[in-house]
Point group: C2
Chain length 515, copies 2
């Protein structure tokens, strides 16, 4: 089992089938195989060693996909960099992973001087953008043209496939080590579950390709055959156009992207009827948004996937038909094939159904560990289970209901308040476009329930109105005691709201907000 195998299979079985569509550039599987084999040849002749990390810092493109397969083909390890990070964070991840080779596109080429200054070991930079190749960088197409194809190294299943730095919501980046088997098992399970992508369909990659959620759909699509349609980044108009023009059948978006897509002016005019499936993840979807999305995208089947990079990435999923149930659609669904999920207390004992604890996961999808962090690896994987840091409970039929990140739970007075529950209540207010609920210091309560809210353009609401609205839906002690109104939320590369940043101004640097 290795991630290149399905590319090989598609190239043998359907060489003339379109593999990638990026703008006006269309390739077929035979071409993609040849280009990947040549790029791998270039990596080898550039001295990349077995098991060495090769990074990429780029918007989405067909070349990003080629990179993802050329690197393991050359017996090396992918290291897709979070494009939302600062040069300092990126430099940290490159240094930590001993990366000497980086692919960079036009959008990020200007960051190179700063990176080179901080990462002296960065020997080779390949320009994979469409503009002219900057001085001091190798030209991507020239590497492909000038190197003969090499054989696929076909790393074994347990071998390291990639180092995926995470930490956007939790502080210092950590390199999650995933094996080929981790990635293939997870994608195979999704393909076997039959609820993710259409057989022989066309998958749109609009979510950032550095993130494992999108890589997951790359691998599922490769297993199922079919075509990748790629846009540089998420933009509602671009996404709508790509769906219509290329008859996209499925895509993965995070809820904030779904919201932007259906709210965007002019999207109503696009013909999106080819779209049959939409996978969403990274955060729960509010009932309000789901209802609006079902109207705006009729005929689309929604599947929720819950997981994290450390799980390559899927733990549970919620099937389309389960969204019809008002209780179940508040859940993250149930364990996928080959995944075991439990809820445990702080002593790692399994709790009864209905009781909140930490979600832990076991299975062939669980990461090898954190790169160079044996203590954190041992802690995260204690007892053989990946400790997700997510708080939740399981019902007696295995549905997992997430209540919060363990560290996002608010202890207000003597009561536990789950921010997700408050956010769900807030989101049903017609003026609320986005919201996040955090605990902030309070002299009487210890922590106070505090709402951060983005209103719809032109809409208005006061704190008192929002609090009153919430109290009609949830217990009074859970309703926000204070609110602040902001223009936009700080988002992670995966589109998650960065509560750490929201909390920062309320908590001292050493406080829980940073942990």
């Amino acid at each position: 089992m290795n991630i290149t195998q399905h590319l090989q299979r598609n190239a043998l079985h359907n060489p003339d089938c379109e593999s990638t569509i990026f703008g006006d550039r269309v390739r077929n599987w035979g071409e993609t195989r040849e280009r990947v084999a040549r790029l791998a040849g270039a990596l080898r002749s550039l001295g990349i060693a077995s098991g060495e990390s090769v990074a990429i810092l780029s918007l989405n493109s067909d070349r990003y996909l080629e990179y993802l397969f050329a690197v393991p083909w050359a017996d090396a390890v992918v290291n897709p960099v979070n494009i939302r990070w600062s040069p300092g964070e990126i430099a940290y991840s490159l240094l930590d992973s001993h990366t000497s080779m980086l692919f960079v596109d036009d959008a990020f080429a200007p960051m190179l001087p700063a990176l080179r200054a901080e990462v002296p070991g960065l020997r080779t930079v390949v320009h994979c953008g469409d503009g002219p190749t900057p001085e001091g960088m190798l030209d991507y197409e020239r590497l492909i043209a000038e190197h003969p194809p090499v054989d696929d190294a076909r790393r074994s299943g347990e071998a390291l496939a990639g180092i995926f730095y995470t930490g956007g919501t939790t502080g210092h980046p950590k390199g999650v080590m995933l094996s080929h088997a981790n990635l293939v098992v997870s994608a195979m399970a999704a393909a076997a579950a039959g609820e993710f992508l259409e057989a022989d369909g066309r998958t749109l990659h609009a979510a950032p390709m550095f993130h494992l959620a999108d890589l997951f759909t790359v691998l599922i699509r490769n297993i199922l055959g079919g075509t990748h349609v790629i846009v540089p980044f998420f933009d509602p108009a671009t996404v709508a156009q790509a769906i219509e023009k290329h008859q996209v059948t499925d895509t993965l978006l995070v809820p904030t992207m779904i919201q932007m897509l259906i709210d965007a002016p002019g999207v109503d005019d696009a013909d999106l009827r080819s779209l049959r499936r939409l996978i969403y993840g990274a955060s729960p979807i509010s009932d309000a948004l789901l209802s609006r999305a079902a109207v705006a995208l009729p005929g689309v089947r929604f599947t929720q996937a819950y997981g994290m990079t450390e799980l390559a990435p899927m733990a549970t999923f919620l099937r389309p038909e389960e969204h019809a149930d008002p209780v179940l659609r508040r859940s993250a669904g149930r364990a996928g094939p080959n995944v075991e999920v439990r809820i445990v207390d702080t002593d790692d004992n399994e709790v009864a159904s209905g009781v909140v604890g930490e979600v832990v996961v076991r299975g062939g999808n669980v990461m090898l560990g954190y790169w160079n962090r044996p203590a954190e690896t041992a802690d995260a994987l204690r007892g053989g289970w990946m400790h997700t840091g997510d708080g939740g409970y399981m019902d007696e039929r295995g549905y997992v209901f997430l209540v919060d990140r363990i560290k996002d739970m608010i202890v207000s007075g003597a009561e536990n308040v789950y921010s997700a529950e408050v956010e769900n209540a807030l989101a049903t207010h017609p003026a609320v476009a986005q919201c996040a609920v955090i605990g902030v210091p309070d002299p009487e309560l210890g922590e106070r329930v505090h709402a951060v809210v983005v209103l719809f353009p032109g809409a208005a609401a006061t704190h008192e109105e929002l609090r009153a609205h919430c109290k009609t839906l949830i217990a009074g002690y859970k309703a926000p005691r204070t609110s602040e109104f902001v223009e936009a939320m700080p988002l992670s590369g995966a589109g998650k709201i960065l509560k750490r940043e929201l909390r920062a101004k309320y908590w001292p640097a050493a406080g829980r907000g940073i942990g």
Copy 2:
């Protein structure tokens, strides 16, 4: 990844869904889980050690399925015995695998004295039949009633799951060692391919459950959820009744069974419309039989799976729609997800497309090796590829066309003759019900093409007529030079024609016919 996991998942997610139907006995997943956990408890209290082999010699039943999961649940290793074997062959396999515990049903209980005499280490025999428990055996239901459930051992993916003795067509039985990962990866790939069983359907187990082909469908069904309908053995009337009564959606049969089913008197009266998918394997299907089956079973989608026990068991498969192509339907299809297939010459070099060589396979499905046979393991797995012993060629799109077992190829004069090609020609003669073509000694040619033929009841044909018919379809040197007419073919447990036995009377004991 372990084979018990999907049972656990079904019991948690759908405890009330029917798990097994055997005659009038119906259980649900919650019950099956409880019974399996109790039976595993019984095995442990009976002293079965971790990794120890526990055998079963039984017709199909719901208890057979429980055995298959209780044994790994107890941290032991399954050893399903070929029910077509003689007591001597069975004793050999029990001795070879150091088996001390055997499950046996009413059909095979009479064989016990002979087995006990040859296998002194056989300490414990569990009677899993429905009749009264014979003296000296433990009662299956009593073991379940008297032992509390234990936790699933959840052996790790690479751990041994079973020893599957094979050799029905090649002589001395060899124990094929398959890991949990081998079995799960293979079943997951089939589920991901989407062409094998219906989601949430009902699978009929009529092919013998000791054989990996049927176990394959047990595991796929467990991954997809749904119900197992089990009959003790293949019988056309029983199968037709079970399909109608229990609304079976899919099943696996070998071509000889398909033929018996559609030829059986009275089957026309049964309502088989619930049947949507039929997997066949073990041998290619003739065009003639496929045409007749398509008429007798309208609406059924046929998928061919090609593989062997050593491949857990699938290498390639032919999709339903590919059967419409007259060329492709003579192939065994193409590699499944996660499987690599090549054709190599006698020096293990890959040959060009269209050139006949040996089919070799690599992937997560390839066996750990042969039990206690390091030399044969090393030979079979040389270079990291499983050498199937099957001769064939691959076209430029990856379709594998099997021509013969390497050792079944006939060298007649200076020409290579592939028996399968001759058999395909013979099978189109309206009088021919079954046929097998072998090489027999010939003073002039070295080997002579010889046909063994079963005619339809009431039909007649002479050797000269058959030879003339073949010469209209294939080159004259390939047409049988001699024919013999028999009442029935010797069949292996998997329903394969035993050419070894057909050849035995023509070749001396040390000759190729035994190899």
